[in-house]
Structure formats: C-alpha cells, structure tokens
C-alpha cells in the first residue's frame, strides 16, 4: 500500500475523473475513475514515465492501451481516494483488470480545449465592438471556436475574447 500525492487533475466531471499522482519515489500514476461507493472512490492507476504521460496529454495515447499495455510489468494498481487520501491500495495482475475498470477503445485525451496550467496556452484580448456589429462579431468568433463573453454594457460595448 503506497500513499500518493495528487499532482494534477486532467479531467473533471462532478469529481476528478482522471488525475496524475506521484508516490514517494517520484513515480507518476495515471489514474482513471471507475467506481465509487460509501467507502470512497476507486480508480485504476498505471505507473507511467513522463514521456508516456506527455504522449497521453498530447492526445496520442489511447487510455485503454495505457492500462492494457503498460510500460513495465506489475505497473497497474487499484487506487482509492478516501477523505482526500490517495492510496495505491493493491497491485493488479492482468487477470484482475476487468472490463468495468477500463474505458472503451479510442478514448483519447481532449487536447483541443485543454487548459495547460504549465503553459500560457490562452491569450485574452479585449476588443471594442460597435453594438451594431455584435451579431456578426459573435458569429465570426464562434466559427473560430473562440469564446466571447460580454463583460459589460459600456459605451463602447466592450467584449472579452479568449
């Protein structure tokens, strides 16, 4: 049983769905939620190198393969989270990895709208847009996949874009 330290949450929906945690030796575990009960949350975790982790975060590694084809033997664990304590509770042998722990095929990391805190990946601009052009402006921006938030009804109808 190894205590892990949360390093980064990569996906969140109601609770962390995918996160990276390190053990005392600095080994990273890529963890995916598969169940929860009154006792806590259960994740399947796999020890990963930084290179493999980078490959995943770039959207180039199918998450299912991360667990079925780990970089080393004995690298897959049942990871539990209870009262914010993260524990690599049990090493899983290949025969113990069941379908209900695994994602479907082609479950790649969403890169296109990922906010990487390690990089300045988003620039924010403030533009002055005439009120009469509001609809055209919004249409153009949405076509580009950018965000428009109207931040106030100032005299110049200022809009913020990112």
């Amino acid at each position: 049983m190894r205590k892990l330290t949360l390093k980064k949450i990569l996906d969140y929906y109601d609770v962390p769905q995918i996160f990276v945690a390190d053990d005392a030796m600095g080994t990273s575990y890529l963890c995916l939620l598969f169940d929860h009960d009154s006792d806590g949350f259960k994740y399947i975790g796999v020890q990963v190198s930084q290179q493999r982790l980078d490959t995943y975060v770039k959207g180039l590694l199918d998450l299912r393969d991360a667990y079925l084809s780990p970089e080393a033997e004995n690298a897959v664990f049942l990871v539990t989270v209870k009262k914010e304590v993260i524990t690599a509770a049990k090493q899983l042998q290949p025969s113990e990895i069941t379908e209900d722990m695994l994602p479907e095929k082609d479950y790649f990391f969403d890169v296109d709208d990922y906010i990487d805190d390690d990089e300045t990946s988003i620039d924010r601009y403030q533009l002055d847009v005439p009120s009469k052009d509001k609809e055209t402006f919004s249409t153009l921006i949405s076509r580009m996949g950018w965000r428009v938030w109207e931040i106030g009804k100032s005299a110049a109808n200022v809009a913020a874009v990112w």
Binding site: D11, D35, E104, I115
Partner: protein, 147 residues
Amino acid sequence: MNYINETVMLKTCKLTDYIAEYHPEWTCDMPVGCPPEDIIVAHNHPFFRLARYADRYDEDDFKSYAETSPDKDWGENLPLAVGLSVIDNEKKARKRLKSPYFSKFKGIILLNLEPKDGVLKQTGAHLSHYTWWKTKRFSINNLKMLQ
C-alpha cells in the same frame, strides 16, 4: 446539430449583482465563498449533462455529491461538491460515456440554462467544462433527451 435558435450568451457577472437581481435560493447550503464572486450567467445557453438512462431523467440526475452524501466531510472540495458539472459541447459530453465510470450512464440531457437557473464558472482542465450552482427555480420539466 444546432441547438441555438435564439440569441444565446454567457455573460460574466459579479455574484453580488446576480443575487441583487435574481434573489436566488440555492438547492443546498453554500459554503463560504461559494459560488465564487466572478461567475457566468447563461442566457438561453445550451449545456449538456449525462443521464443514467437513455430515454428519461429525474431529480437524481441533478443531485450534487454534497446533496447525495450530506454527512460526508468534503473538506476543500466542498465548493465543487455542491456544484454540478455541465459541458458546453455535446460531442465532448457524449465522449464521456466511453469512460468506465460513465459506462452505466446512457443518455445526454440538453439544458438551455437561464439566469434563474443558477450561476456557472468554467472549472477543471477543459474549457468545455463548467461547474453549475443551481437554484431552486431550476425545473427538470421540459428538458430534452438527446439520442
């Protein structure tokens, strides 16, 4: 598929201004500082939430972890535990059904949120993900299940 048939917008807002205008009653007790002061208010904006069944939904699909486990000590995670996750992109919401945790989930609910329904903030590692702190005025009637 285009769900936007009227002017839709996400507007940034101060929580104090929102409270002054809409007098919200939150669906559960909010911890201090929650919702945050810098929030987003949706004006007929589409969001998507996963549902347990393909063809129906009920109140349980809209209960936060704090509501389903009121006696649990959520610690620093309480502000997120009292909120609900919603996604602003159907494709990205649907993709989540591939994960093992959501393999038991079958459907996608379309929500066209209005100011009365609560406030939001983009949270998490993806721009498409928002935490929604809902009010008691939000009604589950007339929501649309997407096939």
